[in-house]
Amino acid sequence: MATYKSIRYSPLIGPGQVLLKTITASSSSNLQFTQGITSEYKEYLFVAAGFHPEESNKVPQFQVSTDGGSSYGVTATTAFHVVEHAEDGSADNVYYQASQDIQNGTGFQSFAEGTGNENDSCMDGYLHIYNPAGTTHVKLFHTSMMCQRNSAMAHGKASGYFNTTNAINAVKFQLSSGNIDAGTISMYGLN
């Protein structure tokens, strides 16, 4: 009989969800998935765990590519909003972050507020992209990412679409500036 040292459980991950790749940051400017995004799965899930910036208050962002990662900058229209609450109760807000949405533009989409770079600070969350390899419809996505900074929590949610009927075959994650000190992003295919 097997002896297990731990049981790992995530409500996001279950039957029909196949781990395709995990990339571990180590003072990385960006993390790129340029392989494995195909028509085999209709939905892809990217789970960020223990994302830790080298510098404080840097915002995680992502963009996609239709040329295998040679270029990132597919036109998108998106929305981004945040809920936050501080330990001292000073910030209990829900707000739309108009300065970090995209209106028919090609920039990187923010998917959380910036986190602190203290040793115990991190960001965790996920990105769903639907049918990235499809060639009929635009590519819809949504994200959910939590972070801790300045003794407060912030939960960012971005959603929208990449306005292309070309297949998306690469995804790039980065911070608004500076390096990703540590953390992983795992890519899952969802049946």
Partner: protein
Amino acid sequence: MPRYHNINGVRVQFTAEEEAARDAEEKAWQDGELDRLLDSLRQKRNRLLADTDYFALSDVTLADNMKTYRQQLRDLTSGLDTVDKVNNVTWPTKPS
């Protein structure tokens, strides 16, 4: 310090062109920081104003301290022309 991509788990150093492009990208983001902070601050300020709107209805007498509080909220962004000023803004206290 050179930058590195992590492409499918492989560490790849930036080219000179990529370094320049990233420098420009980071500068553009940095230049927009004040606008982003002000955007967040206004969102919170507007919500606090909305929370006390009913005190200003025509059939309610608006107390002086509430009138002052609401004016302080409206004036909150005045003079906030640096990131430090926005980060250290002092919010008015809502009258009990």
